[in-house]
């Protein structure tokens, strides 16, 4: 971990800053890299929880049946600090999910790539300059 990878990348001449990988995610124990999925569905429910959000989508199959899938996302708190809220992704919106299916074959997967049908990624950019809850300070209830 410390030596092999470092040497290889150094050889490429790339200075890649150390990226904290998604720890605490025994990912390979939950999802199967041999079972890629690509789903298109409408959002039925979104759980804004840590360390993983869970997006429940209704996927319409070609035969007309609707399947409810649970898609694991990343943590929401950085999004909150960039001004997004639980209302930023309303119910009924259609999204495309690419990822891998659960190891036990159930209708669950990770949402590695979350986009709108036109290809734009969700939660792009910040609502402001990265300052927290831009423009929302001072709004009393």
């Amino acid at each position: 971990m410390r030596t092999k990878l470092t040497v290889w990348l150094a050889g490429l001449g790339i200075v890649i800053a150390c990226v904290p990988v998604w720890a605490h995610h025994a990912f390979a124990a939950e999802f199967d890299a041999k079972k890629p999925i690509k789903l298109r569905g409408t959002i039925a429910k979104m759980e804004w929880i840590n360390p993983h959000t869970w997006i429940h989508i209704d996927v319409k199959k070609p035969n007309g049946k609707v399947e409810r899938w649970m898609i694991e996302g990343g943590p929401p708190n950085a999004l909150y600090r960039r001004g997004f809220t639980k209302d930023s992704l309303p119910l009924g919106i259609e999204i495309v999910v690419e990822g891998f299916q659960a190891k036990d074959g159930s209708m669950r997967g990770n949402g590695r790539d979350l986009t709108f049908p036109d290809g734009r990624k969700l939660f792009l950019g910040s609502s402001g300059t990265g300052a927290p809850l831009d423009g929302r300070e001072g709004k009393e209830r």
Binding site: V15, A23, A29, M70, F100, A102, A131
Partner: protein, 350 residues
């Protein structure tokens, strides 16, 4: 948090007004970093009752690895060139992240190359809205001088074992995922600079106390600074007592519980009954907290080691949010279910 220590670029970020961290010779257990001559002797404001004021929400915003990557063996500081290059790269990567790019463009490996490790989710989940900072240190560890954790042979084996089984298993019961995956904690040692969401800490001061609210796992340390002794009750976060040494907060923590038989994402954070931490918090300017930690535990390390971490203050009004991990831990039953499915397949194929 497991850091994959690939090549690290560091710089003297004078432009952002952050003090340089020159490394003095580090006697065992001593704080190694002293401000370079460029940093002024900055005095923090006082709280209403006269303590140095460290309040606010803080985050570690650099990419210095804990242990020095072999690429920088023998070098404690980077050159100005390397530093400038890294700064430029961080700026570019940030704007690419905001534009929705993935992979190498934003400092990750490509999906084709590594579909799982490092590419589990789009970058937007971890974008904090500003580029990472670059410092001159080649490792957070300043003592020992080689920048490596001085593990005991047994702990070295435990570390290797953890790396080997991560994501691989076996995952036979809830005891097999690490303490973070169990929504317990990541421990105290790395708390000021690590965390799945980027390591946010809110410091709140009141007379006689300094309270640190860590966002991840809602870890909380209420540190008395009124001169009282340790109370001797063993806890996951030990029993911390603090005192002011001029403008530096010094915290001594002992009386940890023994959880060495649990899986930890990083062995170096695991508490044992012989773990002893000495931390020094010094606010070197309005935006920077210099955090020094000396870690001593004969069960895990052959000698104490010290790390110096520059932590950045986030804008006024930044919040840390509730972290209800255990309350929504779907990953645990999913992970166990996956392991049972695999075990079932293996049994069926015999």
């Amino acid at each position: 948090m497991r850091y994959r220590s690939v090549a690290v670029g560091l710089t003297l970020a004078a432009a952002s007004g952050i003090a340089a961290f020159a490394l003095t010779s580090a006697a065992a257990g001593n704080s190694a970093a002293a401000p370079a001559s460029e940093a002024k002797n900055w005095t923090p404001a006082r709280t209403a009752w006269g303590d140095p004021d460290f309040q606010g929400v803080w985050r570690y915003e650099a990419a210095i690895a804990l242990e020095r990557p072999s690429r920088f063996a023998g070098r404690e500081l980077l050159t100005d060139e390397e530093v400038a290059r890294s700064e430029q790269q961080e700026k570019e990567q940030e704007s690419k992240r905001l534009a929705g790019e993935e992979g190498e463009a934003v400092g990750r490996r490509s999906v084709a190359e590594s579909p799982i490790r490092g590419n589990e989710y789009n970058s937007f989940w971890q974008d904090h809205g500003r580029p990472r900072k670059v410092y001159r240190q080649t490792s957070l560890i300043t003592d020992p001088r080689d920048g490596q954790i001085p593990y005991t042979p047994d702990a070295q084996k435990a570390d290797a074992r953890t790396a080997a089984r991560y994501g691989v298993g076996p995952y036979e019961s809830y005891l097999d995922p690490d303490t973070g995956e169990r929504c317990l904690t990541d421990g105290v040692t790395g708390m000021m600079w690590q965390g799945p969401n980027g390591g946010h800490n809110r410091i709140v001061q009141s007379p006689g106390y300094v309270t640190i609210l860590h966002e991840e796992y809602r870890d909380r340390r209420i540190i008395p600074v009124d001169g009282r002794p340790h109370n001797g009750i063993r806890q996951w976060f030990g029993d911390a007592v603090g005192r002011w040494d001029g403008d530096t907060l010094v915290v001594d923590t002992t009386n940890f519980v023994d959880r060495t038989n649990y899986e930890w994402a990083s062995i170096w954070t695991r508490p044992s009954e012989t773990l002893h931490l000495v931390e020094r918090f010094r606010r070197t300017d309005a935006d920077t907290l210099e955090y020094t930690i000396t870690v001593e535990d004969p069960q895990t390390f052959v000698k104490p080691w010290t790390a110096v971490i520059p932590i950045s203050r986030l804008p006024d009004g930044t919040q840390i949010f509730e972290y209800a991990c255990h309350e929504g831990n779907y990953a645990m039953p999913n992970l166990l279910s996956g392991a049972r499915a695999e075990a079932g397949k293996k049994a069926a194929s015999r």
